[in-house]
Amino acid sequence: MLDHYKQDYNKQRQQFVLIDQLGLVLEYTGILLPIKKGQNLKELHPFFESLDALLAMPNPEFSFYCVHLDLGTEDLIADIDMVRKKEGMLLVIHDLTEHYNSYQAVAQARNESIINEELIVLKNTELEERERFKNLFIQNFSHELRNPLMSSMAITQILSDTSLSSEQEQLLEVLRDSNTHLKLLLEDTLSISMIASGKLVMKNTLFNLHKMLDLLSFTYKTKAKAKGLQFTYKAAKQVPEYVEGDRLRLYQVLTNLLDNALKYTVKGSVSLTVGFNQQWANKVHLHFEVTDSGPGIPEDKQPTIFETFSQLASPDKQQGTGLGLALVKGLLALMDSTIVLHSATGKGSTFSFDLGLKVPLQSAMQQQIDIGSAATSRKMGSPGRKYKLLLVEDDERVLTVLFKMLMDSDQFYIDVLTDGGEVLETVIQNEYDLILMDINLPNTRGDHITRIIRDFPFKNVKQLPIIGMTAYAYEDHMQAYKEAGMNTVLAKPFDKEELLQNIFMLLHS
């Protein structure tokens, strides 16, 4: 009985076929393949066409796994064993369709996920590469703009010192505004791309927060008044006077928010509020808020306004690129904070963020403040003595401008070199008080020359104060120039006041 069942069972799942040397069916059992005695298997399926080669081989046995023998009707996936016999070849065909179909599903999932992952990685690498290229381009581009902007700013300054008609005065004012705006845009663009490429790092120093806020309040009260707007400033009394943080970047965040508020508000008021959240050990948590009574920002626009180059369509076409808010977002992220916006059309807007700042210990603070005030008190030059400066700069326009700035102060005798190769000789033969030197010079570089000067045996040459000037104001570059021995490095564009301050700081120390 059981034998009968077994036969029946096997009939469904196995087939034995005996073929001769030519591939003709001699005998068979089972029903898997629709074959007849005397039939040539090669005609049944191309798999068997390759049998010729096998018949000629010396091996007594072969096994083929997972062969698809689709014969038009139903799919058959089988393992096929071949055993050499004296009559010819015995084929044993095992139907494993079900088994292989479930295996196929597994392989399908596996392969698809591997390929997807691979393509995602490729895509990301490509995007990163593009982003990197974009940032590099922006950085280089903004550096290229520094020299011409520097000339433009300086010439504006020079012109304003000449006698002008009132119409010319007005035109010059417009020019000065444009310069300032351009400089700001340049700085913002650079900052954003530096943030994006991870090159911007926060520099935490001790600073007087009250003073900074007072300055902001004063500046924006004036600006608001000029636009016929109210400006209010409120700070909680627990806000500490001295904190440790990146003053410049915090200032940048607040000015951007305030400028933005002023720009879009036509009527009403703008306010700056600094609240106190809590103080833990030596860390204070503050809440900054800039509120305006402007047109408000529709809800659907809110998620995108912090993106680079997005700007609300405004009816009176305000100038600007909308870089400010993107910069705010990026800078705050570097300070471990997030900008929050509450706004609705017609209801004005409130931009706010929480910020944790270190509050320094009393003694360390006193020391730093002393240093700070000492530096500012000996800022400007004393009358009487004139200093001898060596100015090394190859860009003619910049040179003209610098020359004029320095001459105007009437405190310097100035020698000019345009070729870095002549610096060393000139320095040895003359007694200078200070060198003002561009970094990128024809034939050589300012930082290289500095290195050589610092290695000189003569004390008067070796210790000569050197101020570098560069349009490539990357943090790491600036640092490298200082390591080469430059006392100070100025990033172009700079203005007359910045230049003179730095010169006198060195001359008097």
Partner: protein, 165 residues
């Protein structure tokens, strides 16, 4: 006179082996990816001249990560080889040279064509740069999707197999 020649199509998974055969045999293409397991065998008769034609028995093998994993039984009695890689996926051609070494060890002295598939997905310029930077020598660049250069591959191999006798 018509002779049968067994051709195996090798390469990593998903490179388009099945699609190339499908394009050549039935002139069809599908965007759907159905992973091949084991082997599918199909056949196409190629006419070389008025008197000569070859019946190509095309063994479409499952893709593997490495050619070491190919089951030897599948390769028995092979006359010619097509190795396919995917020009959009570096993992399928990064070890091309060692892959080809394995092929020529397992199947010495058989005609072998190296094919970069899916060329429709990359620009010609990027493609050339890519191949150059990876130091890849290929015989054909194809697209199973558009049919570009697909027939050339098989006809070229047929000719090689024919002169091989």
């Amino acid at each position: 006179m018509q002779r049968s020649k067994k051709v195996v199509i090798l390469g990593h998974f998903g490179v388009g082996k099945t699609s190339l055969i499908r394009r050549f045999v039935t002139n069809q293409f599908s965007d759907q990816y159905k992973v091949t397991i084991g082997v599918h065998i199909s056949k196409k008769v190629v006419t070389l001249s008025a008197e000569e034609s070859i019946s190509m028995i095309l063994w479409d093998l499952e893709g593997t990560d490495s050619l070491d994993q190919v089951r030897d039984a599948y390769l028995l009695g092979t006359h010619g080889v097509i190795f396919v890689f995917d020009v959009t996926r570096p993992s399928t051609f990064q070890q091309l040279n060692s892959d080809l070494k394995i092929v020529s060890k397992k199947l010495p002295e058989r005609p072998l064509l190296v094919v970069g598939n899916k060329k429709d997905l990359v620009s010609e310029k990027d493609l050339n740069e890519l191949l150059l930077s990876h130091n890849i020598s290929h015989d054909f660049l194809t697209s199973a999707k558009t049919g570009d250069t697909v027939e050339d591959v098989f006809l070229n191999l047929a000719t090689l197999l024919n002169t091989d006798a």
